[in-house]
């Protein structure tokens, strides 16, 4: 399979000149086919983004005051600290929960693995808003979880499971779990089974084979899943707003508060730009370790 691909792109040296013209035509055709997509990205993403960045430096003329405020006021530091802390915890939890799911899926017979994957993807079809409310109902004082725990006598008074950071983390992990499981599954599925058998035949215990062979080979998937979950979590808005009880202020909520408070797009834009830069830095660092197209699922 691989050999034929190579052959297509690097034909024999004898007709290199002819193929050069062919490849040029092919490139031109590709560009033409891509142009609607490029146009959409340019008009709907790059221009507004440029505008956003421009605005963040604007208040009756050029200014750095919005960035100055972010650097000097404590609430901005606090908010970004909370945002990163929550994202980090969510990423770890998603990994702890997602890895066994992905592992089981990758070794199950195809029929069963498809079922598990379907169950993982199913929540995607429910809106984030509905899921946030569902968690409220499950976790609140008189909710199912507290009532059952009290019913079986495990606790005497209801636990504060929601309207706080804990509730935010629970609901966010639930929403982001598929983004961990899918890249992990894709990576694990490609790990040749012979390697595991080889390890076992050489006398490795199952645990040994897992820690020395399987796990290292799945690391690129781990990194891809963690990056996706972390970056998506950084921008979460509806979930912390609804289940965070008002105390859990994440960066995207700061954007909307800035519009209400300073009635000023510049202040809000600056927060968005800082968040965007954080994301770009994360992607850059990770891309030095794993190719980006792998994270985004292209390979």
């Amino acid at each position: 399979m691989k050999a034929t691909v190579v052959h297509d792109h690097f034909p024999p040296a004898s007709n290199r000149d002819a193929s050069l013209g062919y490849r040029r035509r092919e490139h031109a055709l590709m560009l033409l086919l891509m142009s609607p997509a490029v146009l959409v990205v340019f008009v709907l993403l790059l221009i507004p983004l440029g505008w956003l960045i421009g605005q963040s430096f604007y208040a009756d003329g050029f200014t750095l005051e919005h960035y100055q405020r972010i650097l000097t006021e404590r609430i901005y530091w606090n908010t970004f600290w909370v945002t990163f802390r929550i994202s980090f915890i969510v990423t770890l939890l998603a990994l702890l929960m997602g890895y066994p799911i992905a592992y089981a899926t990758s070794i199950l017979p195809r029929r069963w693995s498809m079922l598990v994957l379907a169950l993982v993807i199913l929540p995607f079809w429910t809106s984030v808003l509905v899921r946030a409310y569902a968690w409220l109902i499950l976790l609140q004082r008189s909710g199912v979880v507290n009532e059952s725990l009290m019913g079986i006598g495990l606790i005497d008074a209801p636990l504060a499971l929601v309207h706080n950071e804990l509730g935010t983390i629970i609901a966010t992990v639930h929403i982001l779990l598929p983004f961990m499981v899918l890249p992990l599954y894709a990576t694990m599925q490609k790990i040749p089974k012979d390697l595991i058998q080889a390890g076992a035949s050489l006398g490795g215990s199952p645990l040994h084979v897992f820690t020395r062979v399987f796990f290292p080979l799945s690391l690129s998937g781990v990194l891809a899943g963690m990056t996706l979950v972390f970056v998506l979590c950084l921008g979460f808005y509806i979930t912390p707003e609804l289940v965070g009880g008002g105390r859990t202020v994440m960066a995207s909520m700061l954007v909307s508060r800035n519009i209400q408070l300073y009635s000023d797009w510049g202040a809000a834009s600056a927060v968005s730009v800082v968040l965007l830069i954080c994301v770009l830095i994360i992607f850059y660092v990770v891309s030095r370790l794993v190719p980006l197209e792998k994270i985004l699922g292209a390979k």
């Binding site: 604007y58 609430i75 004082r141 609804l242 202020v249 700061l254 209400q260």
Partner: protein
């Protein structure tokens, strides 16, 4: 487009493009664009006030809704590209907007219906349209015949144990904190912001939820998630009507209203002024409480005989109820001290 600034130009362009009324309508008479806050409230006033006024004046009222009108007021005001005419919004927006040249100053000689209204129901830029109140509501079962009746009780966690909720916003909340600290209702303004935040720190550990939307506050009480909370009277009445186990008191309530104001450079200024005068006509104002739990902005509506007495007594702006509450001073909230207090809020929440 007078302004050559690129940002403002683009901003203005997007507003014009987003508005339903094109620029070519700007000279047309007999119509206005009216903006309110949507939902059941806008539907109720359409039946009670807007439709009858449109018919009486022979004008077309194009409706839009914006739960938070301030960013749009600011955009339209700063670009000089007004597409809205009249906005129904908290007077804070009218006064702040007026101070910044975004809202027209009203010529009250053209608005005779406002003459009999109390001075504190008017600002140079706006006039009261309807009243609501931030009240103390509770679940009576949680208190065994002795429910909290004031913010002092709300702050008293020993005598009144239970889960509590407050609004995640300084407006009204700072007033409640000061009343809890023993400040008399008539001596609240100017608010002692430091003292209010200090008092809020005291109750903070006992607050289960700082709510952000009216629906959320109602749900908290309905589900029994909290035992007492600050809530808008319309929201708590609605769940009481649905059979929720809830009661509320107007005692110590923070009486709030929305005002009508006109965007600076409104395309239909004359019609807009005419509309405002008609919209606060006691006859139309008296229709409003028949459709929703809000009080008329013009108290003369209580004298029309249209509002049944038992209904009138349920309304936040009914004189006997109003006496037990504090009227929020939007002038203070629009002042620099008020803005400063608003900015301190997020800091307080995160501490």
């Amino acid at each position: 487009m007078k302004d050559t600034n690129c940002f403002k130009y683009l901003l203005g362009f997007s507003v014009v493009a987003a508005g339903t009324v094109g620029a070519d309508d700007s000279l047309a008479d007999g119509q206005i664009t009216f903006v309110s806050q949507g939902g059941a409230y806008q539907e109720a006033q359409t039946i009670a006030i807007l439709d009858p006024v449109a018919e009486a004046l022979g004008i077309t009222i194009n409706q839009e809704s914006a739960p938070d009108a301030w960013p749009m007021i600011r955009t339209q005001g700063t670009t000089g590209q007004a597409v809205w005419d009249v906005v129904d919004t908290p007077p804070l927006n009218c006064v702040r907007g007026g101070n910044q040249g975004l809202i027209e100053e009203l010529d009250f000689s053209q608005i005779p219906n406002a003459e009999s209204m109390p001075e504190e129901y008017k600002t140079p830029y706006s006039v009261a349209y309807e009243f609501y109140s931030s009240v103390l509501a509770y679940n009576p079962d949680a208190f065994d015949g002795n429910p909290p009746q004031s913010w002092e009780d709300f702050w008293n966690v020993e005598e009144f144990p239970g889960n509590r909720a407050l609004r995640n916003h300084p407006l009204g909340t700072l007033e409640a904190a000061l009343m809890a600290d023993g400040v008399a209702r008539e001596e609240l303004y100017p608010l002692d912001v430091d003292r209010a935040f200090e008092k809020l720190e005291e109750i903070k550990p006992h607050i289960t939820t700082w709510w952000t939307s009216g629906g959320q506050s109602a749900q908290l009480l309905y589900d029994g998630e909290v035992d007492m909370l600050m809530i808008w009277n319309g929201r708590v009445s609605a769940i009481i009507n649905e059979g929720a186990n809830a009661e509320f008191t107007y005692n110590d309530g923070v009486l709030q209203n929305t005002h009508l104001c006109i965007i600076e450079g409104a395309p239909n200024l004359e019609t807009a002024v005419e509309f405002i005068n008609a919209a606060i006509d006691p006859e139309y104002q008296a229709n409003l409480p028949l459709h929703i739990d809000y009080g008329p902005g013009n108290p003369a509506a209580f004298d029309t005989g249209k509002i049944p007495d038992d209904r009138a007594r349920e309304l936040p702006s009914f004189p006997e109820n109003a006496e037990r509450q504090v009227l929020m001073s939007y002038e203070w909230w629009a002042s620099s001290a008020g803005e400063e207090a608003e900015r301190r809020w997020l800091d307080f929440m995160q501490r």
